[in-house]
């Protein structure tokens, strides 16, 4: 077939069609103005907003970022202007760029999530919702809200019932049993899952005997994460084969993206790579076309979960 017929569009179901399977991850898409001069947003599969909370957050004290081998340790403490200012000022600008906007929401209680989705319900600019579930649970006094099967089901269920657009649950990388969490999220009504993302991390400056970040602990991002993400995507795709998975963490090149699709993802998000090369989501999408051509395949869908694992993998070991 000719390259012209080869499409990069991915249909994630429930009316969510992306022009390419390459999106910008939460926290790296700016507030609507920053990226437009550096990349043609119409050629980007989607923009995930920074995580928005009910009230404005000042965020963590600086320094907020440090470089690590092939990665970064960072935290922003979810600095954001709160849902109302976001809806007035940021969302319209983000949508104007031409890429579908996926709004990431974060809350510390069921009520906060419900009020957030309530405020977003009527906005036509929202293509999908991503649930940030790695924050603390203020209500139940737990460190990680989304690390518990029952709680994840409860939050996802409440948001999914109210949402008019598909809901993706971004499961915390620190959780011990991602496949079980994924099943609970899908059972509760999540349309899909965002798998990967930054694990909790610490940076230390030996010269000053101090932590590298003002908030002490943070998260790790960057190319170094790829194998962690691949494994998580692989495991979750086997647990919930019907749900679309968006892989995030460690995608820098087209090859990385293809690997994520082979492991079971339907689309990928890029974060740190966009901070280094703002046009990289477009270049990675082009590179996926090149790979499809070389393999004689038609669409990114043909790559999904095509990783050739040995027969019998995953069955109990006899030895």
């Amino acid at each position: 077939m000719s390259p012209a017929n080869r499409t990069l569009a991915v249909d994630l179901g429930a009316g969510l069609v992306l022009s390419t399977p390459v999106m910008v991850a939460s926290g790296c898409a700016g507030t609507g103005r920053e990226l437009s001069g550096l990349v043609d947003l119409r050629k980007v599969g989607g923009l995930v907003t920074r995580s928005i909370t009910l009230e404005a957050r000042k965020g963590s004290p600086p320094p907020r970022i440090a470089e690590t081998p092939s990665g970064t340790v960072w935290t922003t403490g979810l600095q954001n202007p709160g849902i109302h200012v976001f809806l007035d000022a940021e969302l319209p600008r983000l949508a104007r760029g031409g890429a579908p906007v996926i709004v990431s929401i974060a809350g510390g209680s069921l009520e906060e999530f419900v009020r957030l989705i309530g405020a977003l319900q009527t906005r036509p600019e929202v293509a999908a919702i991503e649930l940030h579930l790695s924050g603390p649970d203020d209500e139940l006094r737990r460190d990680v809200l989304g690390a518990h099967v029952d709680r994840t089901g409860e939050i996802v269920g409440a948001v999914a019932r109210m949402s008019l657009v598909p809901v993706f649950a971004k499961l915390p990388m620190s959780a011990s049993d991602l496949p079980e969490l994924a099943k609970a999220a899908v059972r509760a009504g999540a349309h899909g899952l965002t798998i990967g993302g930054p694990p909790p991390a610490l940076g230390v400056r030996s010269a000053t005997l101090r932590p590298a970040l003002g908030a002490v602990t943070g998260w790790m991002s960057g190319p170094a994460l790829k194998p962690l993400t691949l494994r998580a995507v692989f495991e979750v795709a086997r647990a919930v084969p019907e749900a679309p998975i968006i892989a995030v963490g460690g995608v820098r090149t087209a090859e990385d993206a293809v690997e994520m699709l082979l492991a079971g993802a339907s689309a990928v998000q890029m974060g740190t790579a966009v901070l280094v090369d703002p046009a990289s989501p477009v270049d990675v999408a082009k590179g996926i076309v090149g790979y499809l051509q070389a393999k004689g395949l038609e669409s990114p869908r043909d790559l999904r979960a095509r990783l050739r694992v040995p027969a019998g993998f995953g069955t109990p070991d006899e030895s």
Binding site: G27, C28, A29, G30, T31, R33, E34, L35, G37, L38, R50, K58, G59, S60, P61, P62, P63, R64, I65, A66, E67, P69, S70, G71, T72, W74, T76, G77, Q79, G214, G222, P223, T272, V274, L275, V276, D277, P278, A279
Partner: protein
């Protein structure tokens, strides 16, 4: 703001620093003192974030038209790599980035205080101020002779210069704070500009506050991207109307700030906290002298 592939024209050693000259007409045309560029690092190395370099000079006319100059302190892997780049290699630059220094409209006497390679951005500013008919005086400080950037340029650009080194290898022995009061009086300073390490800037800010001197400072905080995406390079800055403060990005909202609005204790203090209103209250800030 443009993203360009810029050819390296030359690199040369300059004491402890390296000077890098690149051809980037699209950026040079627009560049203002205080602004910076974000340089991409080589792919496939373990250091990956862009490095952020203050613009030291931008030539718009003559034989060097369309060139940009930077001063690099090769302190880490990225800056060392930059210092080792060869002529005719290419760098991926995004710039000019950030908000630069503004000139005082009516006032004339400008005192520029630089520590270490903070001088790079201030020499560029000095050229503009002199061209605009302002009086420029300077205080330039560093640990040692090797780290005093181009002392001859400092002399050429200003009426008087006080050079200080911690070890006394050039100028007086001491730091910029030791000579600041005298320099301010001698030059009858009306406006202060400063660039250098944050701790020094904090002390210069206190000096300016005490004397009621309006000031602008180029601040540095660890950056992820440099073009506004990642919200990491923030400093706490009081709102103009006194209704609170915000963590502002040094890349987009700065790097030049009015130091009277910077909440230095919250930024550099031992126990940084992010309460909505600081217990010490918010500073009252006079407008920049128009």
């Amino acid at each position: 703001m443009k993203r360009v592939r810029a050819e390296v024209l030359s690199t040369r050693k300059l004491g402890a620093y390296h000077q890098l000259t690149v051809v980037a007409p699209e950026i040079a045309e627009k560049a203002r003192p205080g602004q910076f560029v974000a340089v991409q690092m080589p792919v496939g190395r373990e250091f990956l974030l862009r490095r952020h370099l203050a613009i030291h000079d931008a030539s718009r006319r003559g034989g060097w038209a369309g060139t940009l100059e930077f001063v690099i302190d090769p302190a880490g892997p990225g800056t060392s790599w930059l210092a080792s780049t060869r002529a005719h290699s290419f760098l991926d630059l995004i710039g000019p980035l950030g908000k630069g220094f503004s000139h005082p409209r009516r006032l004339s006497n400008c005192l520029l205080v630089a520590e270490r390679h903070g001088a790079a951005t201030l020499y560029f500013l000095a050229q503009e101020l002199v061209a605009a008919g302002k009086r420029v005086d300077m205080v330039v400080g560093a640990e040692t002779l090797e780290r005093v950037l181009k002392p001859i340029d400092a002399k050429r650009l200003s009426q008087t210069v006080a050079i200080v080194t911690a070890d006394g290898t050039l100028g007086d022995r001491g730091g910029v704070m030791d000579v600041l009061a005298e320099a301010a009086e001698r030059s009858k300073a009306q406006v202060v500009y400063a660039a250098g390490p944050a701790r020094t800037l904090e002390r210069i800010a206190a000096f300016c506050k005490e004397r009621g001197l309006p000031a602008q400072m180029a601040l540095e905080e660890r950056m992820g991207c440099g073009y506004g995406l990642c919200q990491t390079c923030v400093v706490p800055v009081a709102r103009k109307d006194g209704s609170g403060y915000d963590n502002l990005r040094t890349c987009m909202d700065g790097p030049v700030f009015n130091p009277a609005r910077v909440l230095w204790d919250r930024w550099l203090g031992e126990r940084p906290t992010m309460l909505p209103t600081p217990p010490e209250g918010l500073p009252v800030v006079r407008a920049w002298p128009g």
